[in-house]
């Protein structure tokens, strides 16, 4: 990204973006835990996860990540289309 920033400002920007990515990642992680917990854990006769629950969690995480990945691609395509449209002279 060239926005006419000095080297120091560029470093400042990178640091902030890293923090943002970390935050976003933590948010995705929390959503994943909550969703998979609510979807998979239903047996409270024991305090450790059953084999069935563990398997469900595994499939849930795998599927959610595939889904997030797929929607990221659609989102990126959409953003590209939008920015091309914005640059086109009419």
């Amino acid at each position: 990204m060239d926005m006419g920033l000095s080297a120091a400002e560029q470093r400042e920007l990178e640091g902030r973006l890293q923090k943002r990515q970390m935050k976003d990642f933590m948010g995705l992680f929390s959503n994943l835990v909550d969703h998979c917990f609510v979807s998979c854990v239903d047996d409270f006769t024991s305090k450790s996860l059953s084999t069935r629950e563990t398997g469900c969690i595994q499939r849930c995480v795998q599927k959610q990540m595939a889904q997030s990945q797929r929607l990221s691609e659609r989102f990126a395509e959409h953003n590209t289309a939008m920015s091309q449209q914005a640059q086109q002279p009419r």
Binding site: R16, L17, R20, S39, C40, K63, R70, F75, H78, N79
Partner: protein, 97 residues
């Protein structure tokens, strides 16, 4: 500071940095909402399979396309509404009072 500026002052570097950050935040939020909404519509949460099947994948693609359309549609409707209420920024939808 903006003696070559056209109409309004150039944004300072701090403002540019804040704008990029804000943009990333909005993107992340929209991605979260898209994922939440389309998961609900397209993927059953019993997780008997770990892979997205063909039907689910196609549903997600269409869901994303419709979600972007609804975004556009809603922003158009809100602009119309704002104008029909006699102009001004978003009047009547804010905190009221």
């Amino acid at each position: 500071m903006s003696f070559l500026g056209f109409g309004r002052p150039q944004p300072s570097s701090a403002e540019k940095i804040a704008a990029v950050e804000q943009e990333m935040k909005l993107m992340a939020e929209m991605h979260n909402r898209l994922t939440r909404v389309c998961a609900k519509k397209c993927v059953p949460n019993d997780y008997r399979e770990g892979d997205l099947n063909k039907g689910e994948s196609v549903c997600l693609d269409r869901c994303a396309a419709k979600f972007f359309d609804v975004h556009l549609k809603v922003s158009e409707l809100m602009q119309q509404e704002a104008q029909s209420r006699g102009g001004g920024g978003g009047g009547g939808f804010g905190m009221g009072g």
